[in-house]
Amino acid sequence: MSESIITLEGVRKTYRSGSVEFEALRGVDAAIEQGEYVAVIGPSGSGKSTLMNILGCLDNPTAGRYLLAGEDVSSMSETQLAEVRNRRIGFVFQQFHLLASQSAWRNVELPLVYAGVPRADRRARAIAALTRVGLADRVDNRPGELSGGQQQRVAVARALVTEPALILADEPTGNLDSRSTADVLALLDELHAAGRTIVLITHEHDVAARAERNLVVRDGEIVSDEPVAGVSA
């Protein structure tokens, strides 16, 4: 068995708005191996996005431990966290989160800017990533000039441009039609085949079926963790 890239031990997350507290995660334990393709499913409000944000180091757990490649994230400084997000993780958001004022390739090159890659290399790598997602002819268009599916593919290109080991996608197909959904899923399959670890949130069972393993979340807890039928473990 290969080494765990993600280890969660009793992770809890409590949201506090005013005097009202809400426990979105109630003790999650899980381990995800290098190169796995995992789908997280569950009803709306069950805590999937909360879990994903913690995995992506975008949010801090209230309690419990999160080890990323064996390292405890809670002990990292802001600068170290920034580096982890930059080098190890590619994030695809449900709402795309592209900079509206910048062209497609400028959006894709952003992680490279913070990685300190020289300007000339950045453009070449951004265009290579956009070519990979089938947008070679759209590099100079702004997000507003692209369809929803194309915008999400720009976001995928941005997630893979740094060649991160871990790709996290929060309902990447939630806003897309079946054709664009197929495109994005094909891309994830490809990345998986190239050895990347992928964690994907979805509502749709046929999307979840593309993964190797399904984690079912309900009311802030993992209620089921099993390999997808037909895939040998």
Binding site: C57, L58, A82, S101, Y114, R158
Partner: protein
């Protein structure tokens, strides 16, 4: 991320949000330009008064009738209290009594109508002695000044200011030798003064008719010996205060009064400058207040737009953090952006202020002096406001977790 990279990104952001950038800069431009112009007006007015006073002549003492504390007595001239007379000024001219005076020029002034054919012009007539050109630092452009013998005889001669000549002899190429009539007497124009450029208390120093005291009395039909103002030139700047003491003592003795109820006033140029500055100080305080308010208004504008701009961009900050930007890099990005806006706005404001202070005097006939201190202070304030209110909220936003920043709206 290097500084060059940061600068390039900031320039792009400024360009991408064009309207917002222009509005931010507008606040700074208006603030800085108005500070430069208002302070410039104040200093311009001050310098103008200083120039006027120094144009009076050098090492000058000005003796006027009436006590400085009695405002009704300070206006001399025919018919008013004769507390300064020609006998007084003659006594002042005595080198053995006032050794530190080089020259004394009493003046007897009044408004007089001069007539040349159909042309009629009212000007200020100055009756004086031959010392007047030296003491008042004036020279004759054409012809000559009157002589001692003409002064003694009360000859019907007159030396006109250049503006007076323009009014009376518009069509005559050489007014010297022409005549004008005044008070029933026919005066021969023997000279024209050089332009002094200055004007004191509303009347131009270049619109005068200068003649011997006796001639002026003939024209006005007066027998009074009252002197309007006596100008005394000290032998040097160093002896100015000695001359002051000597004249003060002489007049106190002649008038048989004590210093406490002196019926005359001796002013120096410095004391005139001081008085003028005191009046100007009020103006300067007022203008500085106006400038401060406009800078404040500009600053509040900058502050608002910066705050809104950062709030609008908290999601962008969250995204940049999610992609690997450290809080430091984000703080630096907004610092460079705000400085770029502040500096560009500041330089444009400086340009507007400089162009304004060059163009405005032509439009409103008021001198404007460019003050570097005011310009620098305004620039620094605008920059500090822009940077402060741009960077502070940005660094606060950069401390949020990426997801909180991304979710904000």
């Amino acid at each position: 991320m290097s500084w060059v990279e940061t600068f390039r990104a900031a320039a792009e952001a400024v360009r991408a949000h064009r309207l917002r950038s222009v509005l931010t800069m507008l606040g700074i431009v208006i603030g800085i330009a108005s500070v430069i112009l208002t302070v410039g007006f104040g200093q311009g007015a001050q310098n103008e008064v200083k120039d006027e006073i120094s144009a009076l002549g050098s090492n000058l003492l000005i003796v006027s009738p009436g006590s400085s504390t009695d405002s009704s007595g300070t206006r001399g001239g025919f018919g008013s209290a004769t507390t300064l007379t020609l006998a007084d000024t003659t006594a002042m001219s005595d080198r053995s009594v006032v050794p530190d005076a080089r020259a004394v020029a009493p003046t007897v002034s009044s408004q007089t109508s001069l007539v040349n054919g159909d042309t009629n012009w009212t000007t200020s007539m100055v009756g004086t002695t031959t010392s007047w050109p030296q003491v008042r630092a004036r020279s004759v452009a054409e012809g000559r000044f009157f002589s001692e013998s003409e002064a003694a005889a009360g000859a019907d001669v007159v030396v006109l200011g250049p503006d007076t000549v323009d009014e009376l002899f518009a069509d005559v190429p050489d007014p010297v030798g022409q005549t004008v009539t005044a008070g029933g007497r026919t005066l021969t124009v023997i000279g024209v003064l050089d332009a002094s450029g200055a004007s004191s208390s509303g009347s131009s120093e270049d619109d005068v008719a200068v003649m011997p005291v006796a001639s002026a009395l003939n024209v006005s039909g007066s027998t009074s010996t009252a002197v309007s103002t006596a100008y005394v030139e000290a032998t040097s700047g160093a002896t100015l205060s000695a001359a002051y003491q000597e004249i003060d003592a002489l007049l106190l003795t002649r008038h048989a009064v004590t210093a406490d109820d002196a019926d005359f006033t001796i002013s120096t140029q410095d004391s005139l400058v001081e008085t003028a500055n005191a009046t100007n100080a009020t103006l300067t305080v007022l203008l500085t207040g106006v400038a401060a308010i406009s800078l404040l208004v500009g600053g509040v504008g900058v502050m608002n737009i910066m705050l809104v701009s950062v709030t609008e961009r908290i999601r962008e900050i969250g995204l940049r953090k999610a992609l690997g930007a450290t809080p430091r890099v984000i703080g630096r990005q907004f610092l460079v952006e705000a400085s770029l806006l502040g500096l560009t706005g500041g330089l444009v404001g400086l340009l507007v202020g400089v162009v304004g202070s060059w163009a405005l005097p032509a439009l409103i006939d008021q001198p404007v002096t460019l003050s570097l201190t005011a310009a620098a202070a305004a620039l620094a304030t605008a920059l500090a406001l822009g940077v402060g209110f741009g960077v502070y909220p940005a660094t606060r936003a950069a401390r949020l977790t990426p997801i909180d920043a991304l979710r904000s709206e």
